[in-house]
Amino acid sequence: MVETQPHVEEDIFCRDLHVQFGEHRALTGISLSVHHGEILGIIGPANSGKTTFLRTLNRLNERERSFRVQGTVLLKGADIFSQIDTATLRKRVGMIFALPIPLPMTIFDNVAYGPRMHGISSRATLEGIVEKSLQQAFLWDEVKDRLNESAFKLSGGQQQRLCIARTLAVGPDVILYDEPCSGLDPISTARVEESMIELKKSYTIILVTNNVKQASRVSDRTAFFLMGELVEIGDTGALFTGPLDRRTEEYISGRFG
């Protein structure tokens, strides 16, 4: 299932993407696209290149000096390596990390950090953005009375939703989730998943997860990565009930990985 021509409704279009760190080939020949308003789940065992793929999309890998990339990645038709500068790209492609690390500031300042950085200084506008973002991240009701407390006082699950709110506050087109629930309990996980399903109405989401069940619960389509290659991509229902590739079947039925 290789897509070669970009379509207008594709937020992310990726063709023949190769990534290397020094001699180590992290991704080989990835071609896929992500449609507007869908959740694409990416599953695969450790070291399959899932996280590298995400970090290529917002060019965060480029902090590594040995990083080399080949191929094309388009964000709404614009080449992310040549037509968009990194700061703008990362504003439009937000990322949620595996470990929720709030910045060392108050809850309010954490969410207002991005908008402030992009030049918004009016208190009223910032308050509006902060409230809306916290509501979208399902956190507003729990923190509305203590916005001026340090963000470190929140629980792990709350911190992760704060990080989601922080990302929403800069108004991204695409949100990348890098194993967002790996450190969370089932109830916190459920809340994050809930917010994800709500958010896909307005954002395009790519979810990397080690939890196969999570991918089957929330994603519209699912991709299976193995050793830096895209083995299979398809509608979540189809991929989980009738995978085309034997390796996919073995992985989702828990025979390896």
């Binding site: 910045l103 060392p104 950085m117 922080r166």
Partner: protein, 291 residues
């Protein structure tokens, strides 16, 4: 009955204990000695005349022991050195910790540590033959031995302390903060300024305080290049005399136990109190980081 092994353990333990306590004991002894030699002056000369007196004429008749010009001299030189060294030092720490490629980083760190190893008399000497004539010509002054010259050279001496401690603080900022900021679309400078400097600020403040402590206590270089005029400085381009330089210059000429001798110790007490407070503040900030 104690066995041989037990005895050895006992001796080693006590010896280590003595070494550990020695440092604290020395500080206490120095403080006691300072107090014993200088404190009686506070009864002979009113505190206000000592601390607020504007004339330091220790060997005229009657002698006048107003140390305000000396305190102001130290203050002017210290403020000048701080204003010069802090921005440059912090920027340099930021460059070494965050921007410089690995090769340049090692060279720069070694270079800055070398700067710390230069004896202060050499710094004073170099200032005397290069900076002092330059300042004199640049501003058309009768002498280049000014507070400004002293500030510049002391700034150099405070740099290594500021750079190496600030660099440690900046390098200790978790990568997650940096990534988090970058992932929100921060440019490198926005990330450094709003997140890295912010998170490292207690450590940077501690670095600044330790740098200031070094500058206040410095004697040799300031004695050589600040002109040693014990008058209240009117500008950075006037000669000044610091507390440390006064003690160093005059201690050799005094009669032990005389009023002048005691006055120098009184200066020592004032100096000790100032550096104590500065170090205490630095310590508080350093502890704040650990928590």
């Amino acid at each position: 009955m104690m066995t041989l092994r037990g005895l050895r353990e006992f001796c080693i333990e006590k010896a280590i204990f003595l070494c550990g306590v020695a440092a604290v004991v020395f500080v206490l002894l120095i403080f006691t000695f300072l107090m014993r030699e200088g404190f009686s002056l506070f009864f002979k000369i009113p505190m206000t005349e000592l601390l607020a007196g504007t004339h330091w004429y220790p060997i005229s008749d009657p002698p006048r022991f107003g140390i305000l010009p000396l305190i102001l001299g130290s203050l002017v030189v210290t403020v000048g050195a701080t204003v010069l060294a802090v921005p440059v030092g912090v920027a340099s720490a930021l460059y070494i910790a965050e921007v410089a490629p690995a090769g340049i980083r090692d060279v720069m760190k070694a270079g800055i540590e070398m700067l710390a190893a230069i004896p202060s008399v050499v710094i004073g000497f170099i200032g005397m033959v290069t900076l002092v004539p330059f300042v004199k010509r640049l501003f058309g002054l009768p002498t280049g031995l000014t507070a400004l010259s002293g500030s510049i050279m002391l700034g150099f001496m405070a740099m290594p302390t500021i750079v190496s401690i600030a660099e440690d603080a900046i390098a200790a900022v978790p990568t997650e903060y940096k990534q988090g900021a970058l992932a929100l679309g921060a440019t490198r400078w926005q990330m450094l300024y709003r997140v890295v400097l912010h998170a490292a600020s207690p450590g940077i403040l501690a670095a600044v305080m330790l740098g200031i402590g070094r500058v206040i206590g410095e004697t040799m270089a300031v004695m050589m290049i600040t002109g040693n005029a014990a008058v209240i400085p009117e500008s950075f381009l006037a000669p000044v005399r610091t507390m440390t330089a006064t003690i160093a210059a005059e201690m050799g000429e005094t009669v032990k136990g005389s009023l002048h001798y005691q006055a120098l110790f009184a200066i020592g007490i004032v100096l000790f109190s100032i550096t104590f407070v500065v170090n205490l503040v630095a310590d508080i900030f350093l502890h704040k980081i650990k928590r």
